[in-house]
Structures are given as C-alpha cells and as structure tokens.
Symmetry: D2
Subunit: 398 residues, 4 copies
C-alpha cells in the first residue's frame, strides 16, 4: 500500500468512527428516516474532503480509485452500516453506476447516471423472482414485450434491495424467449419507479424488520409497465452478460465491506472481553475460550483480506473474467468468516449481544444473507471445484 | 411411552398444526396484539379438551402430567411459538407457578398462583441486571431493605421477559448483604407491576424487534418500590436456592420446546427440499449437501430427545439435584443442535429463509439467545467438566 | 437394564480392565503374536466364567444374550482392542457365525461353524475389491463359475480383514452375471484358505503397520480356486441379500465397540487432564478448552449410546429391515463421535498422544477407517435422507 | 515473485516430482534405509544444479535465498517427505545450522557447522522431556554441572527428532539453577552422540512406526555425559533466548512445508475424484460433498500461503521478534488447514486412503503432531489473544 493510500484509509476510518458511529444507535433504535438527514449532511462533508464516490473515475466526478485501492477504502467504510451510503458507493447504486458507465447511451447517462453519481437520486436492481431459485438466474419469468416504440414489462420480483426512495430500477426481463441459449434471452431495462404499473407490494419483513428507505427489500409487481425502447441497456439479450459484468468488482466491494464488519465486531468483542467482569476483578478476557475466539478471528480476518485483495489486483490487471474462479472462492470464504465472527461477537456480549444496543445483532441477522445472496455458498463452492476439476480432465455437473 | 400418552401427544400435535400454525403469519407480520384475542379463544378450546396447564397437578386445576410426560407434550407445543402460551405452560409463568406451588403462603397462592393457573393473569421474573454478567447470578446489585412492615426495593433489571401485560413480577434482590456466603444474600419477592416506583424503561429491541405483550423483554428500574414483607417467597436469603429449584424442570421444558422448534424447522427444510426446483425438474433435494443436512439433523434431533428425556426421568425419580450435571449437559447440547438446525433450515430456504414469511427467521434470531440465557453454554460445559473431574480427584475452578 | 445384566456388564468390565489392559502395551509395542498366547489363555478364563461367545445362542454353546444385552457387553469389551477377540465375538468371525447359523447346511455347520464357535479356528470375509468403490458393493468383478461339481473362483480382493491365521474365507463372487438385477448376481461361497490358488499378496500396510495375525488386512488373489458347489451359502444369487443380513446387527456391534473405545479415550483424557502439570501446581484440567472437550465428549458419547441402544431394541423387536434407516444413521453418527473423541484425547495427551505408549494413537489411526468401511459416512447420510424425503413425496438419487 | 524465483521454484518442483516421488513408495513400504542411498545420490544432483542448502548464505556454501524466497522453495520441497532432506534444509539440521551460524565459535563452526552444511553429518536437538509439558519449555529437569573444564550432563529427553544416525546433539540443560528468572537458567551445549553416557533408550513408536534413520524420534538418557565447556553455545543462561531465535524462521519453514503437503494432498484428492468411478461412468467428482471439499481446501491453502508469506516478509524486514504474534498465528492456522486437508484427502480415497499405498496415511498420522509440537495450538491461540488484548489495556494470563 502506498503511503498516500494509507493516509487516505486512516483518514476515512477516523471519519467513519467519529462521524458515523454516533448515528448508528439512532438507525438501530429509530430507523433509517431518523438518520437520513444527518447522513445527507455527512455526505456534504465527504464531498468537501474530496472523498465523494471513491470508486468513480474523476472525469465523472468521483475520487477515481482503482479497484485495489477502493477495496481498502471499502473495508473501512464497512465498519459502519452507514459508511458506503455516506460516501455514495453503496450497493446497489454502485453496481448500477458501473454498469451505466460501461453501456449506457449518452442520454441514459445524462438522465440516470449523472444524478446517481451526484447523489441526487438512488436506484435499484430488480432481478430475483420469488418463484425461481436465485441460485439459477437463467430461470426467470418476467417478460418485456415490444409494443410500438415501447417495452411492456410484466413480472414479479422480490429482494429488489433499497427500492424505497429510488428514482429508477434496472429490471431484468425476458425479451428474446426463443433465443437458442438460455443466457441470451433476457435484457436489462431502465424503469423509472413512478411509471404506471410499477407497484411495490411491500417491503419484505426480514429477520424482524421491514426497514425503511435505503434499508429495505421490496417485493414488486410489474403490471404492463410501459417504457421506451430507448431504456434498454446495451443490446437485447445481453442481460445476463451485463449482470455477470457487475458481479466481479461487486463481490470485491461486498467482501471488503464484510471484512469491515468483521473488524468492527472484532473490536467490540475485544473491548467487551477486556472490560466485562464475571466477578469482581475477574475479566471475561481471562477465559481461554474467549482468547481462542479472538485469535482465530484475527487469523481468519487477515486471511480473508489477503484473499480478497489478491482478487482485486487480479481483476485490476487481468479483468473479471480471468479472476472468476477466485471471485467465487472469496464469496463463500469471506461469507463464512463473517458468519463465524458475528456468532462469536454476539456470544461474547451475552444478553447484550442479541439486543440492538450494539450493531452486532443487526449484523448478525442482516448479514446472514451473505451466505445466500449473489448465489449461495454451496453453488460457489461447486463452481470453484468444477473449474479445478477441469484441469484434471473432467467436466462435472454442479 | 404408554399408548394413552402417545394418543395425547398426537392429538395435541394435531391441534397445534391445525389451530395455531394459521395464527403464526399474523404474529410474524403484525405482532402479538394482532393474535392475542385468537390465542385466548384457543385457550378456551384447550380447556374444553381437558389439556389446560398440562404440567400443573390436577388438584390445582391442571392436567397433572409428570415431568417425562409433560416433556413429550412440551415438544409438540414447541412446534409453534404460540403453543405453550395457548396451553398456559409458557415461560416464565410456568416457572413462577412451580415456585409458588412449592413455597408460597396460602395467601400468596390465593392471590397470585391461582389466577396464574386459571390463565387470568401473566407474571414475570426479574433477576438479570445489565451491569453484571448473567452467567454469575451471585453478582447482583438490586436491594430490598426492610422498612416497617415493608421491603423497599431498588434496582435495575433487564431481560425481564414477557413483562408487558403482567400482573406481578418475582424480583431477586439482596436482602442480607452481610450473609457470610454470597448465595445466602438474596431473596425473591413478589412485586405487583402497578406498584409505584416499578417503571419499565423500555421493551428492549432484540434482533430487530421490541415486540409486544408476551413477546417482549423489559428493562425495568425499581425506584423505592415498597411491598409488604408478606410478599417474600420462602425465607430471607433463600433467593438463589429457589432460583436453582426452578432451573431443573425448567431446562427440561426449554429443551423439549427447542426440540419442537427443531422438528418444525426439520419439517420445513424437508418440504422445501422436496418442492423447490433449481431448474425445471431438478429438485433441491437432489443436492448431496441438502441430503447430508437432513440426515445429520435427524440424528442430532433424535440424540437430543434421548438425552433430555433421560434427564426428565432422572429428575422425576431422583430430583433435580441428583440430575444437575445432566441438566447442564442438555442445556448446551440441545442449544447447539437448535443452532445448527436453524442455520441449515434458513440456508435451505435461501432468500425466503431470512424473511418473516416462514417461522424460521423468527426462530433463527430469537433462539440465538438459547446459547446465552440460563447461563451461556461455555459455563455449563465447564460445570459438567468440573463435576466429572471431581471423580478424578481434582477440584477445578471454572 | 435389568440388574443381572448390570452385574454382568460390570464383571466383564472389571475383567477387561484387570486382565486385558495389561496385555495392551505388549500388543502395541511388540505386535499380535507377542500376546496371542496370553489372549488364548484369557479365553479359557472367559469360558470358565461362562461368558464365552456372548451373542451366540446357548444351544450352540454361547451365552445367548439378545442384541440389546450383547450391545451393552460389546461396549465394555470395546474398552480394549483385545476384548472381542478374547470373548470370541470379534469381527469378522461374529458376522460369519451369525450368517452360518442362519443359512449353513448341516455339514457346513459341522465343518465351519462349530469350530468357529468353539474358538478353534478363525475366518474371514472377502468382498471388497481394489478396483471398485467399496461404497457400491454391486459393482464387483470376482467370478465363480461352475465346473463339474465345483465352483472355480477368480478374483482380486483386499481388506479381507484378519485373514492371516484363518481356516476359511467367505467369498463374494459373481455367479449369475446375466441376472436381470444387479443385486441378484453374486453368491457367497466358503473357501478354505489352504485351497490351491488362494494366494495372499500381502498384509496391507495401513497407517504405518502391516500388523500380524488377527490385526491384519489382506490383499488376496483367487486364481482358479476350486471348491465344491456344496460350499455355496444359501442359494445362488443371494450374496447381497446375505451381506445385507449381516449388516444390521453388525453395525450395532461395531457402534457399541466404538463407544467402548470412546469411553476408554474419555477416561484417559480425564486422567491426563487431572494429573498433567503445565507448571508446578497448575493442572491441565484448569484449562477451559480441556474442560469443554470433556463436557462435549460426555454429551456426545451419551447421545451415541442412546441412539445405538434404541436401534438394538428396534432390531430385536422388529428385525433389521425395519430398522435399516436408523442403522445407517448410527453408522455415521457414532463414527463422527469416535473421530472427535480420538482427536481430543490425542491433543490432551500432547506428544504422548501420538506415541504408541497409550492405546490412543492406535485408535486414532486404526479407527479412522470407521468413517469409511461398511460404506462411507457420506453414503449413509444420503441413504437416510433418501428415506426421509420419500415421506415428502420425492424419490431422490444418491 | 520475481521471474527468476518463479523459474527456480518450478524447476525444483519438477525435480521433486520426477526424482523424489518415485522413491516414496520404497520409503513408505520398506523404510528409510531402503531409500537412503538413493537420497544421497539425489543430493549430488541437487548440488550439481546449484540448489544445495538453499537457505544457507553463499559464503557458507548454500544457495543464499532470503526467507521469503526460501519459503517458496520450502513449499515445493514439502510436496515430498524426502524434499527437504535431499536439499539439506531438513529440520532439525536447518535450525541447528542457523543457530551455529549465529553464535558458534570458529572452532565450533569448523567442527560442527561446516560438515552439516556440506551434508556429511546430521544433527539433532534435545530439549523436550517426558516428565514436563512441552508447552512450557521453562519447566525442565536436565542439568549441566561444571566440573573442571567440562560440563557433566544428566537428563532424560524424548522427541529428540531424527537422532538415529546423527553426529551430535544440541542439548538444553539447566546450568544456572539459581538465576532469578526461569528463562535464564538453561544453556545449549553441543554433545557428540558417541560421548559416553549418551544412551538412546529407544526410537519411540509413533502412530504405528518406530521408523528408521532420519525418520525417528529418540528417547535418550544423559548419564554423566562429559563434554568440554568449549561446547557451550553462546553464553550460559542464554538457552531459551537461543531457542526462541530459531523458532521464527523455523515456523515459516514448517508452515511452508505443511502447505507443500497440503498441495500434494489436494492434487491426490482431485486426481482421485476425477478418476474413481462409483458405478460405471459415474465419477466421484460428481458428488457435491467432494466438490465442496475441493473448493474449501483451495481457499484454505491459498489463505494459509498468504498468511505465511506475509510473516516471511515481516521477519525478513523487521526480524523475528517484531513478527512474533504473527508467527504464533500461522502456527495454529496452518496446522488446522493441514489437519483438515489430510482428513478430506483420506476420506476421498476411501480404503486406499488409510493404506500406505499413497503418502496420505503417512501424512495423516505423522503430521497429526503439527498441532502439538513447537507448542500446541491452544497455547499459540492464547498467546495471540494475550498480545491483542494488551492493546485493549488488559494483561491476561494464559
């Protein structure tokens, strides 16, 4: 790490700790809307510091970090659940920005990309369907049928994350049902959320909370939603190719964010062990089990970071395709580390650990999804093995 | 199992599935008060069937099951989070009833026990303090000082479960601060919840939900709460002895309830595996990992049930003290099985698993407490080892 | 357990500890032949005590215990690696005896069964082939072709356990290659080991030792081995059916033997923890990790015993077929417990644990096979799941 | 990795595979002396290639690799159990060479170090005592008492690795029993193994094998062993300081050797999965469990390598003391990875896995020691936690 980057990372870490940690209790106890104004005020400070949209190229108005450098920043942003949002590099907007920079028309960029980058609007990505296994995205029912100059979209989606408050969705729908290959049937289309027929059924209640605003996951029906064909992203039938494209850097972002969560949990775990008395003068930290959890956690977090940073460098130098096996590998490995860290940190906190008085319970229940979304770990493990076994001359089904 | 018991268990299981499962989505999506009336209506059916208060002796108005038989019933009640409540054998009321039957004066029985048994009121148990490790109950700050004919109680408690809606609390407080032994300093005292100075600060938000009514955990301050000395349970200084007394059968109840949850999760997991298609015609159940989770879960649940039923029989024949090591053993063993079951069942359900559209997410996050309350697993494991190592001639600290 | 059985089990346990434990260092350091004479001398004492061949019916000359009672005895015999051999209920002879009692002709019984029961000879079972996965016994190459009054057997077998020193083998070979169903193609045939063409290539070196005598696993070629057709067991094509028949009670024997090994390891682990000083006056037993291993081991062994004894009772009352799913279940569950026990006991012993100065290293490396033989755990888990999933209406491949 | 190093590593890997793999079956089936001559012949080829003693500085006659570069070489040497021995960088000689280079007198170097470097002799290190826990090296009984110009050494040691065939031992013994600090009481002294009173009681039988030559672990008594005081290494009382000094780079060597073993096991596991048929045409590699083991193993090995290489760089740039916490961390982390890899690879091989027909069983049983020697994992975990917790202001006992 060059020293400039090191300074940047430390400065951002300090900012997250000093400016964002104090907002967390409000988020945890009162919900997103109770902190939204404060977050937007912090966003101005971020802009003033020159840190805005750290992964976006400078000519688009961002800080212009390359993937490995942004990965390091993503980790320290991940220390708080408000980090990425405050720096305008939160999922799913960051993925949408990356996609739009790559394939959007000039008009699409002007209308959708630039307001996103400037932080004026938020967006969402509408792909997963309740009727089909998310682990197999090729298996999809939503359709977009041409009618005059428009597409007419019908479908049922859920886990359209952060939809509440967004200006537009990017929707995956089947446009070419007769294409010979399954992965050439779908397209990605921009749908403003105020389009007639776009209807949110609910914010799904997940692990006890339906959430608010950015912290929601919507179930949506698209009923004869009509948008101009000009809202198509890239070419017809490219939907899966575009979806794949966003996954590589996206997994690095996620994994580094998870590592940030791990570091936060690790810090809380150590603080707790070092301060909680089991009896007068007898610290929790004296317990060998606690000591072992601390040591194992340290090893696992360090290992996870090395693996992810290696992938970041590989993508930076060779592209996402060349690193795709390693991308699958870090998905399940880091999700596993995250899972164990949350569990240990909760246990070390005892009854406090299951309350929303710390960020741990939020992380424990919310990030349980890490082993599921973007493909469950089981699928990624088989994908990695499938690739390895090809070198041994066999082509296994998974 | 005698065949009469087998019929009873099957009948109750059918009742739980047919009458209580349909209430669960309302509980999960709308909260306790949305189902409370329905639960109380079901309670009348339970009474009509002769199943009311299954663990309470007949002369008090219950069904009079002994511990092993009630354990079997507790398992099938545990299939639904509304089971025990509907049958009036829910914690903490069941523990309070058992305690009051054992030590209450005639007046205390008339005023507090009988309305509990009849289901007219609910109660709570106020012991854990946020400032002290729950794993060491001897380490407590709340005090009850004699003043005239009264006790004046001051203290700060949390995790006073199900307090909202209760008529009285049983409070642990130090009455004899100078007693030579730590475990002779505290007493248990009945405190009506409408006594001046009894103040609920909040229902603690736990894993995303503060909950309502029965499904709450209160943080309470006792500020100069004055109750008659006649509200003392048993003798002064007996607080810990009484607390111990409730733990033996209580752990059996809990463990069998957990096994019920495990069976429910197991059933949902198998249903999901047998119906979810990964691609047209390709079932999730074909995956070896899913198969192995099913097999391992079956083995672990069966093992857990054998262990707990063995303890139930031991307590029934020899008393809780003789079985105390086994009671610790089932605490951590069954909590571990529960933890693994919930995790597997969630994972098998994918995105659905983390939503509140099934009971799994509720169980996953709510029962995370199982490894913590009534003493964290780590303490119970050391307690078991300490006992075993005595047979090898050493007296270890834990 | 009836009190007579309890007395028997305790007496046999005392015998194993007092008479067989002292032979173990000789076995471990000098090999089987160094203790063989002593073992045969102990066998006479066993006969004198009336304990000989405990699972064999009285009219054949055994003690006549039913399966659950023998299971209890098998556990205490399992405390020593010499237990079953000394009592003449060691695998594979016990399985061969059970088979011969069931299906042998009078002449076969006279010639092969009775000397086995009397302990005059030993036998082996020759089924697994190196070229084929042991997990799929239907997939076999050895053949037995009729020629005149004889069968002429050709094949290549390995893991023919305990072959060195045996009088005869029971060989599985394809006799009906054209039978419509795979499982109707093989037969079991008695082959005296001095028959021309029966050739042991080697005692396989397993985890460091080729072993001697009873403690060997042979690789064998059958080259035109000619035996009378009268040596056929049961009917032609019944080979797999007979193999299945021996597995049910056999797994109970094995599992209880494993539990005996676990109890031995547990005892050694506790002894070590209670005596080893990390520094003057500071016992290993004070370490929380050690305490937790002890507690977890106690829970797991108890759970394993309950599961196995339940299967023993099921087989006794309903036959092996009715219990076949539970038989698969205990196979993998108890093998897992055994694996963890051995690992913990070795670790607690430190450097001593990996030496052959205790029985632990022998158990650690030798019983690693437990997760593999009689079908690897992975196969049994899928078999259990397959059965469970049938109740959910699906028929999965495994 | 610079490209020169990459070429070197690949060349050595090719050498190990082509020249040493073929010797392994002889080692495994016939023992060390059956391959010793071949190994010494291969050593000449290694010298001819310029690879001899890769970690030893050029002016002493080695290849002069720095620690990170040698770490990479150590991994590929670790692919075979004969790798390090053939390249003259095997433990314990490499540790003795490093020590002697650092502290030996000119005469000691001439007499002991140079023949070691030239590969003319082997040496051993005699520290662990059966009576004391190896996890606490300060707790030692052997003594070296001055008498005239000599030391007279008495003591009882075991796990003096590779002693058979050595020319000298470096012995740890108490020379200053009254030193105020425990760690200032012992010294390291060179003892030629032909000195009167140096007596090997036995090569300890470990996991089934006493071994031969290099592959042995001796139990030794020192009975009035008299050596000149000139054989003292460094200064009196420095024994523990010198022992610590060897541990840092030594752990890196070991860990990279373990990673080599892991890669070998991984390769065998994949080969097996890709070739073993469960039934005609149905490969083991199709099984999801096998796929997951492959993927998890790949992730864990990669993670382990990153962690160890990071430590190698830290030691190279900042010295072993600065990296001591990370050195503890890799000890337990990589030992854990090794343990899991061996277990999975054995299981994938089924019955073959437990035989000595592959190197897996040797690795499985022999490297079980990895979690024990140089301090059991439990001690290292607590040491790491102790250091971390200091940053949180507490000083815990371990």
């Amino acid at each position: 790490m060059t020293s400039n980057l090191e300074i940047l990372v430390q400065d951002i870490k300090t900012f997250v700790r000093e400016e964002l940690y104090p907002l967390e209790p409000i988020l945890l106890q009162q919900g997103y809307y109770a902190v939204e104004a404060a977050v937007y005020e912090k966003r101005e400070r971020v802009k003033a510091r020159g840190w805005w949209a750290p992964s976006i190229p400078r000519h688009y108005g961002g800080l212009g970090l390359n993937l490995p450098d942004f990965a390091r920043v993503s980790e320290v942003l991940g220390l708080s659940f408000l980090g990425h949002l405050t720096f305008n590099c939160q999922a799913p907007d960051i993925g949408n920005m990356e996609l739009l920079m790559e394939v959007a028309s000039d008009e699409q960029k002007e209308r959708y990309l630039m307001p996103l980058i400037r932080g004026e609007i938020r967006s969402c990505f509408s792909m997963t369907e309740p009727e089909h296994a998310g682990s197999n995205p090729l298996y999809m029912s939503a359709t977009a049928v041409k009618d005059g100059d428009d597409y007419v979209i019908n479908g049922h989606k859920w886990f359209t994350s952060s939809q509440e408050g967004t200006a537009f969705a990017i929707v995956m729908a089947i446009t070419n049902p007769d294409a010979p290959k399954l992965h050439q049937r779908a397209s990605q289309i921009i749908v403003p959320t105020d389009t007639p027929g776009f209807r949110r059924l609910r914010n799904i209640k997940i692990m006890g909370e339906a959430g608010e605003g950015y912290f929601t996951d919507a179930e949506i029906v698209y009923e004869n939603v009509r948008v101009p064909q000009a809202n198509l992203l890239g070419r017809e039938g490219e939907g899966f190719a575009l979806a794949q494209m966003r996954l590589g850097p996206g997994r690095v972002h996620h994994c580094m964010r998870w590592i940030g969560i791990c570091e936060r949990a690790f810090d809380l775990m150590c603080q707790r062990a070092a301060s909680r008395e089991l009896s007068p003068g007898k610290l929790l930290a004296e317990k060998q089990t606690i000591q072992h959890w601390i040591a194992e956690s340290r090893a696992e977090i360090n290992a996870a970071r090395f693996l992810v940073m290696d992938v970041a460098h590989k993508i930076e130098s060779g592209g996402a395709h060349a690193a795709r096996v390693d991308i699958s590998l870090i998905k399940f490995y880091v999700a596993g580390v995250l899972d164990r860290l949350m569990d240990r940190a909760v246990q070390v906190h005892g009854a406090l650990g299951i309350t929303d008085d710390t960020m741990l319970a939020f992380a424990y229940r919310r990030e349980r999804a890490a082993r599921i979304y973007d493909g469950p770990d089981e699928v990624h493990k088989s994908a990695v093995a499938r690739h390895i076994l090809k070198e041994y001359g066999v082509n296994v089904s998974i």
